[in-house]
Protein backbone atom coordinates (compact mmCIF):
# COMPACT_ATOMS: atom_id res chain seq x y z
CA UNK A 1 0.00 0.00 0.00
CA UNK A 2 1.27 3.47 -0.81
CA UNK A 3 1.15 6.22 1.79
CA UNK A 4 0.99 9.26 -0.50
CA UNK A 5 1.15 11.83 2.30
CA UNK A 6 4.20 10.20 3.86
CA UNK A 7 6.15 9.96 0.61
CA UNK A 8 5.35 13.55 -0.33
CA UNK A 9 6.16 14.63 3.21
CA UNK A 10 9.65 13.15 3.35
CA UNK A 11 10.51 14.63 -0.04
CA UNK A 12 9.17 18.01 1.01
CA UNK A 13 10.88 18.03 4.40
CA UNK A 14 14.22 17.23 2.79
CA UNK A 15 13.65 20.02 0.23
CA UNK A 16 14.07 17.59 -2.66
CA UNK A 17 13.72 19.39 -5.98
CA UNK A 18 11.09 17.27 -7.69
CA UNK A 19 7.89 17.40 -9.72
CA UNK A 20 4.96 15.02 -9.28
CA UNK A 21 4.19 13.43 -12.65
CA UNK A 22 2.24 10.35 -13.78
CA UNK A 23 -0.88 8.98 -12.14
CA UNK A 24 -0.68 11.02 -8.95
CA UNK A 25 -0.37 14.22 -11.00
CA UNK A 26 -3.49 13.07 -12.85
CA UNK A 27 -5.29 12.60 -9.52
CA UNK A 28 -4.25 16.09 -8.44
CA UNK A 29 -5.82 17.45 -11.63
CA UNK A 30 -9.06 15.56 -10.97
CA UNK A 31 -8.62 12.11 -12.51
CA UNK A 32 -10.89 9.42 -11.08
CA UNK A 33 -8.45 6.62 -11.97
CA UNK A 34 -6.58 4.70 -9.31
CA UNK A 35 -2.82 4.90 -9.22
CA UNK A 36 -0.53 2.70 -7.19
CA UNK A 37 2.64 4.73 -6.93
CA UNK A 38 4.22 8.15 -6.72
CA UNK A 39 6.15 9.18 -9.83
CA UNK A 40 8.50 12.12 -9.58
CA UNK A 41 10.86 13.86 -11.94
CA UNK A 42 13.91 14.92 -9.95
CA UNK A 43 16.83 17.31 -10.41
CA UNK A 44 20.11 15.50 -11.04
CA UNK A 45 22.41 17.91 -9.23
CA UNK A 46 24.70 16.34 -6.64
CA UNK A 47 23.07 18.38 -3.89
CA UNK A 48 19.63 17.07 -4.85
CA UNK A 49 20.81 13.47 -5.14
CA UNK A 50 22.14 13.81 -1.61
CA UNK A 51 18.78 15.15 -0.40
CA UNK A 52 16.98 12.21 -2.06
CA UNK A 53 19.31 9.64 -0.54
CA UNK A 54 18.97 11.11 2.95
CA UNK A 55 15.20 11.59 2.67
CA UNK A 56 14.45 8.04 1.55
CA UNK A 57 17.06 6.16 3.56
CA UNK A 58 14.71 5.63 6.56
CA UNK A 59 12.14 4.13 4.19
CA UNK A 60 14.53 1.35 3.10
CA UNK A 61 14.28 1.87 -0.68
CA UNK A 62 14.83 -1.20 -2.84
CA UNK A 63 14.45 -1.95 -6.53
CA UNK A 64 10.83 -2.89 -7.13
CA UNK A 65 10.41 -6.38 -8.55
CA UNK A 66 14.04 -7.33 -7.93
CA UNK A 67 14.62 -10.63 -6.14
CA UNK A 68 15.19 -10.16 -2.40
CA UNK A 69 18.85 -10.23 -1.43
CA UNK A 70 20.10 -8.68 -4.66
CA UNK A 71 22.99 -6.35 -3.81
CA UNK A 72 21.61 -2.83 -3.96
CA UNK A 73 23.34 0.11 -2.39
CA UNK A 74 21.17 3.12 -1.73
CA UNK A 75 23.67 5.91 -2.35
CA UNK A 76 24.45 9.00 -4.35
CA UNK A 77 26.80 6.91 -6.48
CA UNK A 78 23.95 4.54 -7.39
CA UNK A 79 21.67 7.42 -8.34
CA UNK A 80 24.47 9.01 -10.35
CA UNK A 81 25.04 5.88 -12.43
CA UNK A 82 21.36 5.42 -13.24
CA UNK A 83 18.57 7.67 -14.42
CA UNK A 84 15.14 6.17 -13.76
CA UNK A 85 14.55 4.05 -10.66
CA UNK A 86 11.40 2.11 -9.79
CA UNK A 87 11.55 1.65 -6.05
CA UNK A 88 9.62 -0.01 -3.32
CA UNK A 89 9.81 1.67 0.09
CA UNK A 90 8.22 1.13 3.48
CA UNK A 91 5.79 3.92 2.50
CA UNK A 92 4.95 2.37 -0.86
CA UNK A 93 6.02 2.45 -4.48
CA UNK A 94 8.05 5.41 -5.69
CA UNK A 95 9.44 6.02 -9.17
CA UNK A 96 12.34 8.44 -9.52
CA UNK A 97 12.48 9.64 -13.10
CA UNK A 98 15.54 11.47 -14.34
CA UNK A 99 13.93 11.91 -17.73
CA UNK A 100 10.47 11.32 -19.11
CA UNK A 101 9.47 10.83 -22.75
CA UNK A 102 8.04 13.96 -24.31
CA UNK A 103 8.99 16.08 -21.31
CA UNK A 104 12.70 15.71 -20.77
CA UNK A 105 14.46 16.38 -17.51
CA UNK A 106 13.42 18.20 -14.35
CA UNK A 107 14.73 21.54 -15.62
CA UNK A 108 12.78 21.16 -18.89
CA UNK A 109 9.56 20.38 -17.01
CA UNK A 110 9.90 23.11 -14.38
CA UNK A 111 8.26 25.87 -16.49
CA UNK A 112 5.29 23.56 -17.04
CA UNK A 113 4.31 23.02 -13.42
CA UNK A 114 1.82 24.25 -10.87
CA UNK A 115 2.18 24.32 -7.09
CA UNK A 116 -0.63 22.83 -5.00
CA UNK A 117 -1.16 22.55 -1.26
CA UNK A 118 -1.27 18.91 -0.17
CA UNK A 119 -1.21 17.84 3.47
CA UNK A 120 0.29 21.21 4.47
CA UNK A 121 3.10 20.83 1.93
CA UNK A 122 3.61 22.85 -1.21
CA UNK A 123 3.85 20.21 -3.90
CA UNK A 124 5.05 20.96 -7.41
CA UNK A 125 3.03 19.08 -10.02
CA UNK A 126 3.17 18.84 -13.81
CA UNK A 127 0.48 21.00 -15.43
CA UNK A 128 -2.36 19.31 -17.27
CA UNK A 129 -1.35 20.10 -20.90
CA UNK A 130 2.19 18.83 -20.27
CA UNK A 131 0.92 15.75 -18.47
CA UNK A 132 -1.18 14.94 -21.54
CA UNK A 133 1.80 15.60 -23.82
CA UNK A 134 4.07 13.27 -21.84
CA UNK A 135 1.44 10.52 -21.70
CA UNK A 136 1.02 10.80 -25.47
CA UNK A 137 4.78 10.69 -26.01
CA UNK A 138 5.11 7.56 -23.87
CA UNK A 139 3.02 5.80 -26.55
CA UNK A 140 1.83 3.01 -24.26
CA UNK A 141 -1.49 1.40 -25.21
CA UNK A 142 -2.48 1.25 -21.51
CA UNK A 143 -2.28 5.05 -21.37
CA UNK A 144 -4.93 5.62 -24.05
CA UNK A 145 -7.78 5.55 -21.55
CA UNK A 146 -5.82 7.82 -19.19
CA UNK A 147 -5.13 10.32 -22.00
CA UNK A 148 -8.82 10.32 -22.92
CA UNK A 149 -9.73 11.07 -19.32
CA UNK A 150 -7.15 13.86 -19.01
CA UNK A 151 -8.42 15.43 -22.23
CA UNK A 152 -11.97 15.22 -20.90
CA UNK A 153 -10.75 16.92 -17.71
CA UNK A 154 -9.21 19.71 -19.74
CA UNK A 155 -12.51 20.18 -21.57
CA UNK A 156 -14.49 20.17 -18.31
CA UNK A 157 -12.18 22.79 -16.80
CA UNK A 158 -12.71 24.99 -19.83
Amino acid sequence: MTDFAKLLGVLHDARVECIVVGGLAATIHGSARLTQDVDISYARSDANLERIVRALEPLAPYLRGAPPGLPFEWSIATLRTGLNFTLTTSAGALDLLGEIPGGGRYEDLLPHTIVVDLFSYEVRCLDLPTLIRTKRAAGRPRDLDAIAELEALREERG
Binding site: M1, T2, D3, F4, A5, L24, T27, I28, H29, G30, S31, A32, L34, T35, V115, V116, D117, L118, F119, C125, P129, R133, R136, L144, D145, I147, A148, E149, E151, A152, L153, E156, R157, G158
Partner: protein, 122 residues
Protein backbone atom coordinates in the same frame (compact mmCIF):
# COMPACT_ATOMS: atom_id res chain seq x y z
CA UNK B 1 -18.29 31.57 -21.83
CA UNK B 2 -14.82 31.17 -20.31
CA UNK B 3 -12.30 33.88 -21.03
CA UNK B 4 -8.53 33.87 -20.63
CA UNK B 5 -8.90 36.61 -18.02
CA UNK B 6 -11.44 34.58 -16.03
CA UNK B 7 -9.19 31.54 -15.65
CA UNK B 8 -5.96 33.45 -15.10
CA UNK B 9 -7.31 35.91 -12.57
CA UNK B 10 -9.07 33.23 -10.53
CA UNK B 11 -6.01 30.95 -10.52
CA UNK B 12 -3.61 33.78 -9.62
CA UNK B 13 -5.90 34.99 -6.83
CA UNK B 14 -6.35 31.50 -5.38
CA UNK B 15 -2.63 30.72 -5.59
CA UNK B 16 -1.92 33.98 -3.78
CA UNK B 17 -4.48 33.05 -1.11
CA UNK B 18 -6.47 36.25 -1.67
CA UNK B 19 -10.19 36.91 -1.55
CA UNK B 20 -11.75 38.81 -4.44
CA UNK B 21 -12.07 41.81 -2.14
CA UNK B 22 -8.40 41.67 -1.10
CA UNK B 23 -7.22 41.37 -4.68
CA UNK B 24 -9.46 44.26 -5.72
CA UNK B 25 -7.98 46.43 -2.98
CA UNK B 26 -4.43 45.61 -4.06
CA UNK B 27 -5.23 46.37 -7.71
CA UNK B 28 -7.21 49.51 -6.99
CA UNK B 29 -10.51 48.21 -8.27
CA UNK B 30 -13.73 46.84 -6.84
CA UNK B 31 -14.66 43.33 -5.69
CA UNK B 32 -17.56 43.32 -8.14
CA UNK B 33 -15.19 44.06 -11.04
CA UNK B 34 -12.99 41.10 -10.02
CA UNK B 35 -16.11 38.97 -9.62
CA UNK B 36 -17.35 39.89 -13.10
CA UNK B 37 -14.02 38.90 -14.64
CA UNK B 38 -13.88 35.60 -12.74
CA UNK B 39 -17.42 34.61 -13.67
CA UNK B 40 -16.81 35.49 -17.31
CA UNK B 41 -19.56 38.10 -17.43
CA UNK B 42 -17.09 40.91 -18.08
CA UNK B 43 -14.80 41.30 -21.07
CA UNK B 44 -11.71 42.81 -19.48
CA UNK B 45 -8.94 44.65 -21.29
CA UNK B 46 -5.55 42.93 -21.35
CA UNK B 47 -4.15 45.77 -19.22
CA UNK B 48 -6.79 45.13 -16.55
CA UNK B 49 -5.97 41.42 -16.39
CA UNK B 50 -2.25 42.24 -16.21
CA UNK B 51 -2.86 44.66 -13.31
CA UNK B 52 -4.84 42.07 -11.35
CA UNK B 53 -2.25 39.35 -11.97
CA UNK B 54 0.54 41.68 -10.88
CA UNK B 55 -1.37 42.56 -7.71
CA UNK B 56 -1.52 38.83 -6.95
CA UNK B 57 2.22 38.52 -7.61
CA UNK B 58 2.13 36.99 -11.07
CA UNK B 59 2.93 37.90 -14.64
CA UNK B 60 1.23 36.25 -17.62
CA UNK B 61 3.37 34.92 -20.44
CA UNK B 62 1.70 33.96 -23.69
CA UNK B 63 3.40 31.22 -25.68
CA UNK B 64 2.45 29.46 -28.87
CA UNK B 65 1.83 25.73 -28.70
CA UNK B 66 1.13 23.57 -31.72
CA UNK B 67 -2.36 22.13 -31.80
CA UNK B 68 -2.20 18.38 -31.40
CA UNK B 69 -4.47 16.69 -33.94
CA UNK B 70 -7.30 14.67 -32.44
CA UNK B 71 -6.33 11.02 -32.05
CA UNK B 72 -9.30 8.89 -33.22
CA UNK B 73 -8.43 6.11 -30.74
CA UNK B 74 -8.31 8.53 -27.82
CA UNK B 75 -11.57 10.08 -29.04
CA UNK B 76 -13.19 6.66 -28.99
CA UNK B 77 -12.03 6.13 -25.40
CA UNK B 78 -13.23 9.62 -24.48
CA UNK B 79 -16.82 8.74 -25.34
CA UNK B 80 -16.82 6.20 -22.50
CA UNK B 81 -15.43 8.52 -19.84
CA UNK B 82 -17.85 9.08 -16.96
CA UNK B 83 -17.71 12.86 -16.74
CA UNK B 84 -19.90 12.99 -13.64
CA UNK B 85 -16.96 11.56 -11.66
CA UNK B 86 -14.65 14.18 -13.13
CA UNK B 87 -17.07 17.01 -12.33
CA UNK B 88 -17.33 15.75 -8.76
CA UNK B 89 -13.54 15.69 -8.51
CA UNK B 90 -13.19 19.17 -9.97
CA UNK B 91 -15.39 20.48 -7.17
CA UNK B 92 -12.87 19.08 -4.66
CA UNK B 93 -9.51 20.54 -3.70
CA UNK B 94 -6.36 18.70 -4.85
CA UNK B 95 -5.87 17.55 -1.25
CA UNK B 96 -9.39 16.10 -1.14
CA UNK B 97 -8.71 14.30 -4.44
CA UNK B 98 -5.51 12.70 -3.13
CA UNK B 99 -7.27 11.98 0.18
CA UNK B 100 -9.98 10.06 -1.67
CA UNK B 101 -7.31 8.09 -3.54
CA UNK B 102 -5.62 7.29 -0.21
CA UNK B 103 -8.93 6.14 1.27
CA UNK B 104 -9.43 3.72 -1.65
CA UNK B 105 -5.89 2.41 -1.15
CA UNK B 106 -6.54 1.88 2.55
CA UNK B 107 -9.80 0.08 1.76
CA UNK B 108 -8.07 -2.20 -0.77
CA UNK B 109 -5.33 -3.00 1.75
CA UNK B 110 -7.94 -3.80 4.40
CA UNK B 111 -9.82 -6.07 1.97
CA UNK B 112 -6.56 -7.82 1.14
CA UNK B 113 -5.79 -8.34 4.83
CA UNK B 114 -9.30 -9.71 5.44
CA UNK B 115 -8.97 -12.08 2.49
CA UNK B 116 -5.68 -13.45 3.77
CA UNK B 117 -7.05 -13.87 7.31
CA UNK B 118 -10.03 -15.80 5.93
CA UNK B 119 -7.74 -18.09 3.92
CA UNK B 120 -5.70 -18.83 7.03
CA UNK B 121 -8.85 -19.78 8.93
CA UNK B 122 -10.05 -22.17 6.18
Amino acid sequence: MNTIGQNLVREARQRAGLTQRALAALAGTTQSAVGRIETGTGNPRVETVERLLEAAGFRARIVLEPITPEDPVVSAYKRDIDRTLLRDNLRRTPEERVGALQALHDLAAEAQRAGKARKRRE
